[in-house]
């Protein structure tokens, strides 16, 4: 990311097209910008939704509808920065690209601190914006996939009973001692019962071995943290 939008490599490349089908949300109080910017983006193949204020966006936004937010930094009423803070507070993870006619170092720093993926000063090259949207969407897709996998894994693990979860936790914690005897001693249960639980665990998680179990648990940890 950079605030330098006079990038020579992309300056002449007007052929940057949308390589995502995620929607782009444009929020700007300037009527001209609201007209021209979505049009240009649509020409490049983006799906665009337009809002004239932060508030109207807030009212229609939904965490289940991922997309990229192109947000005017300065607006009357709720400013872009405030909207960003609000989204963060709600726990929505939506990539935000700030555009500002009043840009400056202090503003961009504030925006980035708040988790913005980029900050463009008006006027900017539409190709650059398109590029940044694509980049942001790519990241978002990865994140969305991770999120989906995480949810899937979590759903599997959620099927385990409490006892089974304890056994899994013990196995992940101490991969050197995963025999039923060792775990049974640790939990004060007979190895036979452990064996029984282990079979149920593998069944529920749709895996075949203890090694796979540890792998899966590690993955869950990695993706969902």
């Amino acid at each position: 990311m950079t605030k330098d939008n006079t990038d020579s490599e992309t300056a002449g490349d007007t052929a940057v097209m949308a390589d995502t089908d995620l929607p782009v949300f444009v929020v700007d109080d300037d009527r001209d910008v609201r007209t021209s910017l979505p049009r240009a983006l649509r020409k490049r193949g983006f799906t665009v939704e337009v809002f004239d204020s932060a508030r109207s966006f807030m009212e229609s936004c939904d965490n289940e509808r991922p997309g990229c937010l192109v947000l005017d930094y300065r607006m009357p009423g709720m400013s872009g920065l405030e909207l960003q803070k609000h989204m963060n507070d709600l726990g929505y993870s939506i990539p935000i690209i700030f555009i500002s006619g009043h840009g400056g170092v202090p503003e961009s720093v504030q925006a980035i601190k708040g988790g913005a993926v980029d900050f463009l000063e008006k006027p900017f090259r539409p190709a650059v914006l398109a590029e940044r949207i694509n980049a942001a969407c790519k990241l978002l897709v990865v994140e969305l996939e991770a999120r989906a996998e995480c949810a899937q894994l979590r759903a599997k693990f959620d099927r385990l009973t409490q006892r089974e979860s304890e056994i899994v936790a013990r196995m992940v914690e101490n991969p050197a001692e995963i025999s039923s005897k060792e775990i049974g001693r640790f939990l004060g249960i007979s190895p036979r019962t452990i064996d029984h639980h282990r079979a149920r665990i593998l069944e529920k998680l749709e895996i075949k071995s203890a090694a796979e179990l540890i792998d899966l648990a590690g993955k869950l940890e990695r993706i969902c943290s």
């Binding site: 002449g12 007007t14 052929a15 009357p76 009043h102 202090p106 720093v109 008006k122 006027p123 539409p126």
Partner: protein
């Protein structure tokens, strides 16, 4: 020196009284002596007069009777040639006049009838000498008071011849009634005198001389009965110096060599006092001293006597009455009395003096209590409003008047003192002549840093800063000047710091116009002066900004607004390019044009960004400052405009942290907002033009709002856009520039639409933090 009433009263009541008593006593002492002596003389005079009158009274009936007897004889009432008839006549006469001791008739023929009183009383003796037939017969007959003969005898030895007797001769010679000098009667040996009157026989009667013997020892008896003082005496002295009457009859008779008796003379009398007193008056023998009544004083044997000599009674009785008495007889009692009086007077003087003192004290006591009270009041130990002691009405009235005066005066003093002490301004009393500081209030000490006891040892000029270019004139108000003086001077505090003070001095004078002291009022205007300086600087900066940087600011402000359409242009060109690219026939020139437009819009953005450097550069001027102070200074700059427009500017600032930013730029924003508000309210009625500036903290930022009571912002107007304005002569750039300034300083500026009563514009400023401002990280951070 005023007289003390107490002393006056004491003197008046006791002293004068004492003096008066003393005077009376002394004058009476002096005059009583003289009066006493006068009185004594009067007494003696009375005695003399009494004696004269008594003598006359004793002798004049005798005289009358003798003359009567002579007439009887002469008028043949008495057969004078008949001795028995004559004897009887004489006997009757003798019985009639008790003064007579004897009565007799002698004829020229030598016959003699004599009837005299004899012893014992009531007995009479007659002596009859007859020449019957030439033969002399002397018969003595004793009779009782009934003329009865008790005894009779003849005395042939008798040789008495009346014609030889002096009385006969004198009467015959003078042919009238004569008085003999007193002498001692031969027969009775008593003092007496003889009155003789010639009888001229008319017819058958005979010529002769009728005589009467009058004993004057009764005069001596009278004298002895007279009380002249205790031991004083009166005596009668004949003109020849014989003492013919004396209280002590034994003293007046003396025996001659021949055994006969005679009167003793004054020079011989065995009464040494009388002798001493009167003998000098009778030195010339036989000649009566023709003296007027003479009083004299003499000393005998150590005692003082007074004496009076009365003149001769008459020609026929050429007697002198002499009276003497010791002075002490009259004065002793009075002297004693006088001594007693002096003692009583002294006692009275002492007692009345004491009463006078007590009275004076009693009268003076309320006055004294009043005086004590006055002294206490004057020393401030007593409140005049305390009830006064019970005193006189006049004093009470005076007291009331004075108390009113005192109360009024104390009130004035207290008020002046409080004004002086509690004044929020520094005050000092300075001696007009020397410049010595007499008294200062607390504030004065606060300002100068000196203690009151230190400063009262100084002169006012000691406080002036010698480095003050106006130093010589800075203390000129100490000169005797009627005009109050106002000036500013630099003053050196105790710690050496120089402060600016505004000095006001007035000279206080007494009724005569003599300057008493100067009252100096002093204000520390150091801060005000500094603020004034700051405001001046701000104004200079603002006007400089207005002159020199307005274009830059405008451009900068414009830039922000221009960026929006530029961005739109860039987007539209992009869209156009894409559209052109998608078309079947593409005119390369059109594509070129569109690319140029895009490039130009980007270039315009670059230019605008460069313009923003004007503000960015000013970031070097960012400081930490107190917003309230800046607001106040800015408010003063528009106060004139506000007054002219009839608008009131109120500020209501909460306790704000210091903020960070470019002070001059922020001032310009405030100025702009305030001016906008004032101008927006131009159409409002008087009294409803109010601009309120208030503040609060918003998300850690300092938020300041400027609110007016104007008509508000028309919703159709797009604020913060270039060339949108409600002002007939405005360009609509003010708010836009303000916004860019505030944003450049790390804050935001917006129009708060929630305010319905008028327009409200708010902006935020970052508070000062110790760490570098969050908005200025190192450039290039990704």
């Amino acid at each position: 020196m005023k007289n003390s009433l107490g002393a006056l009263l004491a003197l008046g009541f006791a002293g004068l009284q004492f003096l008066t008593v003393l005077l009376v006593v002394f004058s009476s002492y002096l005059t009583s002596e003289r009066a006493l002596i006068g009185h004594a003389r009067d007494l003696l005079h009375d005695v003399g007069t009494n004696t004269i009158e008594h003598s006359k009274g004793f002798l004049s009936p005798a005289h009358g009777a003798a003359v009567l007897a002579a007439r009887l004889a002469q008028n043949d009432v008495v057969a004078s040639d008949d001795p028995e008839q004559l004897e009887k006549l004489l006997f009757q006469q003798l019985q009639l006049v008790p003064q007579f001791s004897g009565i007799f008739f002698g004829t020229d023929d030598g016959e003699f009838v004599y009837v005299m009183r004899s012893h014992p009383v009531g007995r009479f003796r007659s002596k009859i000498i007859t020449y019957a037939g030439g033969k002399r017969t002397t018969e003595l007959i004793w009779r009782n008071d009934k003329f009865e003969i008790l005894d009779r005898k003849f005395d042939p030895t008798d040789t008495y011849d009346p014609r030889e007797r002096p009385w006969f001769k004198s009467a015959r010679e003078t042919n009238g009634t004569i008085w003999t000098d007193p002498y001692i009667f031969f027969t009775s040996q008593q003092p007496g005198l003889t009155l003789a009157s010639p009888v001229e026989s008319g017819g058958q009667g005979r010529k002769g001389v009728m005589g009467v013997d009058i004993e004057i020892s009764s005069i001596s008896d009278f004298l002895s009965r007279l009380k002249v003082g205790h031991t004083g005496k009166a005596l009668i002295i004949n003109k020849n110096g014989d003492v013919i009457a004396h209280p002590d009859q034994g003293l007046i008779k003396i025996e001659n060599d021949d055994g006969s008796l005679r009167f003793v003379t004054i020079g011989e009398i065995d009464d040494p006092i009388a002798r001493t007193a009167f003998s000098p008056l009778f030195k010339r023998d036989g000649e009566a001293p023709v003296v007027p009544e003479t009083t004299s004083q003499f000393v005998f044997d150590g005692a003082t006597y007074v004496s009076v000599v009365m003149p001769v009674v008459s020609d026929i009785l050429p007697w002198t009455i002499a009276v003497y008495a010791p002075q002490d007889d009259f004065t002793e009692v009075i002297k004693h009395n006088r001594a007693t009086n002096i003692w009583i007077a002294a006692l009275v003087a002492v007692v009345t003096g004491a009463i006078g003192l007590i009275l004076a004290n009693y009268i003076h006591r309320p006055v004294r209590a009043f005086a004590v009270r006055s002294a206490l009041i004057s020393q401030g130990e007593l409140d005049p409003s305390e009830p006064p002691p019970n005193t006189y009405k006049e004093l009470e009235n005076a007291n009331d008047a004075l108390v009113q005066e005192i109360v009024a005066r104390k009130k004035a003093e207290r008020e002046y003192g409080q004004t002086f002490e509690l004044s929020s301004r520094a005050m000092a009393q300075v001696a007009s002549d020397t410049g010595q500081i007499i008294r200062v209030n607390e504030r004065f000490c606060d300002i100068t840093g000196y203690q009151p006891d230190e400063i009262t040892r100084m002169q006012f000029s000691d406080l002036a800063d010698p480095a003050d270019p106006r130093f010589p004139s800075s203390t000129e108000f100490l000169a005797d000047n009627d005009l109050p003086l106002n000036s500013e001077m630099r003053c050196i505090c105790k710690d050496g710091t120089a402060i600016w003070v505004k000095v006001n001095a007035i000279t206080i004078r007494n009724q005569n116009g003599k300057p008493l002291h100067a009252v100096v009022t002093m204000d520390d205007v150091t801060r005000a002066k500094a603020k004034e300086q700051q405001i001046l600087q701000l104004n200079r900066d603002l006007s400089h900004l207005a002159r020199g940087k307005t274009m830059g600011q405008m451009a900068s402000g414009l830039a922000h607004e221009l960026n929006q359409p530029l961005a739109a242009i860039a987007q539209n060109v992009d869209a156009a390019l894409l559209t052109v690219g998608q078309g079947p026939e593409t005119d390369p020139e059109l594509r070129e044009i569109l690319v140029e437009i895009e490039e130009q819009s980007i270039r315009a953005g670059d230019i605008i960004r460069a313009l923003r450097g004007f503000i960015a550069k000013d970031e070097g001027n960012r400081t930490t400052f107190d917003f309230g102070e800046l607001l106040e200074q800015t408010r003063r700059l528009v106060q004139a405009d506000a007054n002219e427009a009839g608008a009131v500017i109120q500020t209501r600032l909460s306790d704000l942290p210091r903020v960070e930013g470019n002070r001059v730029q922020i001032a310009q924003v405030i100025l702009n907002l305030l001016r906008n508000s004032i101008e927006a309210m131009a159409g409002q009625p008087e009294g409803q033009k109010k601009v309120l500036v208030f503040s609060h903290l918003k998300d850690g930022q300092v938020c300041i709002c400027v609110e007016d009571t104007g008509p508000g912002i028309d919703p159709s107007i797009k604020l913060f856009s270039e060339f949108e304005t409600t002002k007939p002569d405005g360009m609509g750039l003010g708010l836009s520039i303000c916004r860019s300034i505030i944003e450049a300083n790390g804050g935001e500026l917006w129009h708060d639409e929630s305010c319905k009563s008028g327009a409200r514009f708010c902006f935020t400023l970052p508070p000062h933090t110790d760490t570098p401002a969050a908005g200025s990280p190192a450039p290039g951070t990704t």
